[in-house]
């Protein structure tokens, strides 16, 4: 049984090299507060949310933010939470995953050239 729930807020697709913003909403579903560590990983690396620690009260939700550059292939956003127990150790808790597909862009096109000018 997990003590947290993760919701991944991210686009379902992105263009190559586009900056992708990710929000992990972590809800504490336990009856008391505790420290939560959040990790966000694109596929198996890199970590774009790197063991960020926050106190989350009972029933509360805390967001963790990160970003990565979209690779040239479909990928998965993986999110994990760990909780800090009273013995001081970390225990794995919840995990969630969301796919993000690469957008195939057409060739470059240009339009609407205009100009204003002045003496400099």
């Amino acid at each position: 049984m997990a003590f947290t729930e993760i919701t991944i807020i991210a686009p379902s697709s992105a263009a190559w090299n586009e900056s992708v913003q990710v929000e992990l909403k972590v809800k504490n579903t336990w009856s008391s507060g505790f420290y939560v560590y959040a990790v966000g990983i694109l596929d198996t690396s890199p970590r774009f949310i790197d063991w960020e620690r926050a106190w989350i009260g009972a029933g509360e939700t805390r967001s963790f933010y990160g970003q990565f550059q979209m690779p040239a292939y479909d990928a998965a956003i993986n999110a994990y939470t760990y909780y800090e127990a009273s013995d001081g150790l970390l225990y794995g808790d919840a995990e969630e995953s969301k796919g993000i597909s690469i957008e195939t862009l057409g060739p470059a096109e240009f339009r609407n050239l205009t100009c204003s000018y002045s003496r400099a």
């Binding site: 263009a15 190559w16 090299n17 586009e18 957008e103 862009l105 057409g106 060739p107 470059a108 096109e109 240009f110 339009r111 609407n112 050239l113 205009t114 100009c115 204003s116 000018y117 002045s118 003496r119 400099a120």
Partner: protein
């Protein structure tokens, strides 16, 4: 109307839109000249900017690029003739497909400067036995 003298720069603030894959190598070329059936450029009165920042764009995105035209050859024997009947032409080039042109208002550019330093013409000769 923009009045230009030697030593000035005409700063052209150009805007266009892009969609699709990132692109490297596009150029903006701006020149002063006279528009007729074709655009008759003044030799040496132009400028070029290479555009390096065109990113992947999944929607039409605006871009803004500056092109400077240095003004340094009005008058003189080989320079542009002073006058108020010049225009600006801008060309987006080295892109997929045809170049895209923009023309400024007619007679919107005035070139001021001294007339040619010295001119000669109509050489004739008469001769006789002496």
């Amino acid at each position: 109307m923009v009045i230009l003298n030697n030593g000035n720069t005409l700063r052209c603030l150009c805007r266009f839109e892009h969609i699709g894959a990132a692109y490297v190598g596009a150029k903006l070329y701006a020149a002063i000249g006279k528009k007729g059936i074709t655009f008759d450029e003044i030799s040496g009165m132009n400028g070029t900017t290479i555009i390096t920042n065109i990113q992947n764009d999944s929607d039409w995105q605006p871009y803004q690029v500056t092109v400077d035209i240095p003004i340094d050859n009005i008058g003189g024997v080989f320079g542009a003739k002073p006058g108020s009947d010049y225009e600006v032409m801008v060309k987006l080039m080295s892109i997929p497909g045809s170049d895209i042109y923009w023309y400024g208002p007619l007679n919107d550019i005035t070139l001021e400067g001294e007339a040619a330093e010295a001119e000669f013409k109509d050489l004739t000769v008469s001769y006789a036995k002496a």
